[in-house]
């Protein structure tokens, strides 16, 4: 069940919306505002509206000609990547990323063997899913109840950089922000304690700085 927005919170967060629209909010402030906006249509509309002003400011950056060889260098790099078609590459990358997530879990407690064993029978729950962006599979997420409840995710080439927020949608329809981590060059790997059992999580969403969905996974 989704929460009703608190109007006093709306007033308190009015100034935060402007800062969020220009990417000037970080940390807990940012998580709190995103959490509020998700449940408050009024503030979501205001954030979208302020973002149009922020977009307009992009036109103020000066144009500067790069080196004369710039175009050729860019096109050479694009041409190089274009000879590595994404579809055949993706499944292998995802397999690697799932392995990376499990390896991260191992670092948390050396429980890989137990996780694999648990998947074969009763006991602690472990769920693995592919994180997808609009461009396709971009990572993996592992949820497990071994040694407490954990979420581990890996993202690669996610089309975003900087701080992102992770939210989970639970089986009762509610959503929770469970933390933030940083993508560098589209890549990031992260582990966090889950505030709920993995079996109650129906979806995991990674949200970028402007409130857009970077990637999501259905469980």
């Amino acid at each position: 069940m989704s929460r009703m927005p608190d109007r006093s919170t709306c007033a308190e967060m009015a100034d935060d919306l402007g800062a969020l629209a220009v990417g000037a909010l970080t940390g807990r402030d940012r998580v709190a505002v995103l959490d509020h906006v998700e449940h408050c249509a009024t503030c979501a509309v205001e954030l979208e509206s302020l973002a149009t002003g922020a977009d307009a400011l992009l036109s103020l950056y000066p144009e500067v000609d790069p080196a004369t060889t710039f175009t050729e260098r860019v096109l050479t790099r694009i041409d190089g990547e274009s000879h590595q078609p994404p579809p055949p590459r993706r499944p292998r990358r995802i397999a690697v990323m799932v392995a990376a997530s499990i390896a991260a879990l191992a670092l948390l407690g050396g429980v890989v063997a137990a996780i694999v064993a648990s998947d074969r029978g009763s006991g602690p729950t472990t769920v693995t899913a592919v994180l997808r962006s609009r461009a396709g599979p971009d990572g993996s997420v592992v949820l497990t109840s071994h040694h407490g409840n954990w979420l581990v995710m890996t993202l690669d080439d996610a089309g975003a950089s900087g701080s992102v927020t992770c939210r989970v949608t639970l089986s009762d329809g509610s959503a929770r922000t469970i933390g933030q981590f940083t993508l560098r060059g589209g890549y990031g790997s992260w582990a966090v304690r889950l505030p709920t059992s993995p079996s109650t999580v129906e979806a995991v969403t990674v949200i970028g700085q402007n409130g857009t969905v970077v990637a999501s996974a259905a469980l």
Partner: protein, 210 residues
């Protein structure tokens, strides 16, 4: 070419600009996503000065700016197929990618971005004069935005440019301006709302009568 008052595109945010070669950015992105190398070349040439300019303005480092600009165009190429023309103009989307990469760079390097106020004083923000007929409509937008920003109260303009132009966080704006964090956030929001409202009012004024 002359822009007659009242004939500007209806939406300054989502207008589809056609360039001298008659091909819109959106069409180039579509062709690029389909593997058209000539479209990729045209798009890079069309936007490289802006993308490199953004990276250089934020980092003040030519080498880093080149790397960032190259990476920005690679991101554009990788994600051209999922660009949503209903959510943003292509130029805004491309510029946002370059800006975010540059800000990530300076935050990772813990370098101080260029002070936007200094840039304004040195006249390093773009000229309001259009560089050619082919950019006349776009330059009209630049003129409008610059005029709106210039008319903001000084303290609001400084806070907004620090955050939006240089990528400073609200907390960094507060320290740089020696003001409480809440005041910094308030100045950013008030300035941004004025930019939004003024541009919307001008757009409504430009709308021809039905």
């Amino acid at each position: 070419m002359t822009v007659v008052p009242g004939t500007q595109p209806r939406s300054w945010r989502r207008r589809r600009l056609k360039q001298a070669d008659g091909v819109s950015d959106e069409a180039l992105l579509t062709a690029m996503a389909a593997g058209d190398g000539s479209a990729a070349a045209a798009l890079v040439r069309r936007h490289q000065a802006r993308v490199y300019g953004i990276a250089y303005a934020i980092t003040d480092d030519r080498s880093a700016a080149e790397d960032i600009a190259q990476e920005a165009f690679l991101r554009v190429w990788r994600h051209a197929a999922v660009f949503d023309a209903h959510r943003a103009r292509a130029q805004t989307w491309i510029s946002s990618i370059a800006r975010n990469l540059a800000i990530d760079f300076i935050r990772a390097r813990r370098a101080s971005p260029v002070d936007p106020h200094d840039a304004l004083q040195r006249g390093e923000l773009p000229s309001a004069e259009p560089s050619s007929d082919t950019r006349l409509v776009e330059s009209d937008l630049v003129q409008r935005v610059r005029r709106v920003v210039d008319q903001l109260p000084t303290e609001q303009r400084r806070a907004l440019l620090r955050a939006a132009f240089s990528g400073q966080t609200a907390a960094e704006v507060a320290v740089a301006e020696d003001i409480p964090l809440g005041t910094a956030k308030s100045r950013i929001r008030l300035a941004l709302a004025k930019v939004r409202d003024t541009l919307a009012e001008e757009e409504a004024f430009d709308e021809p009568d039905a």
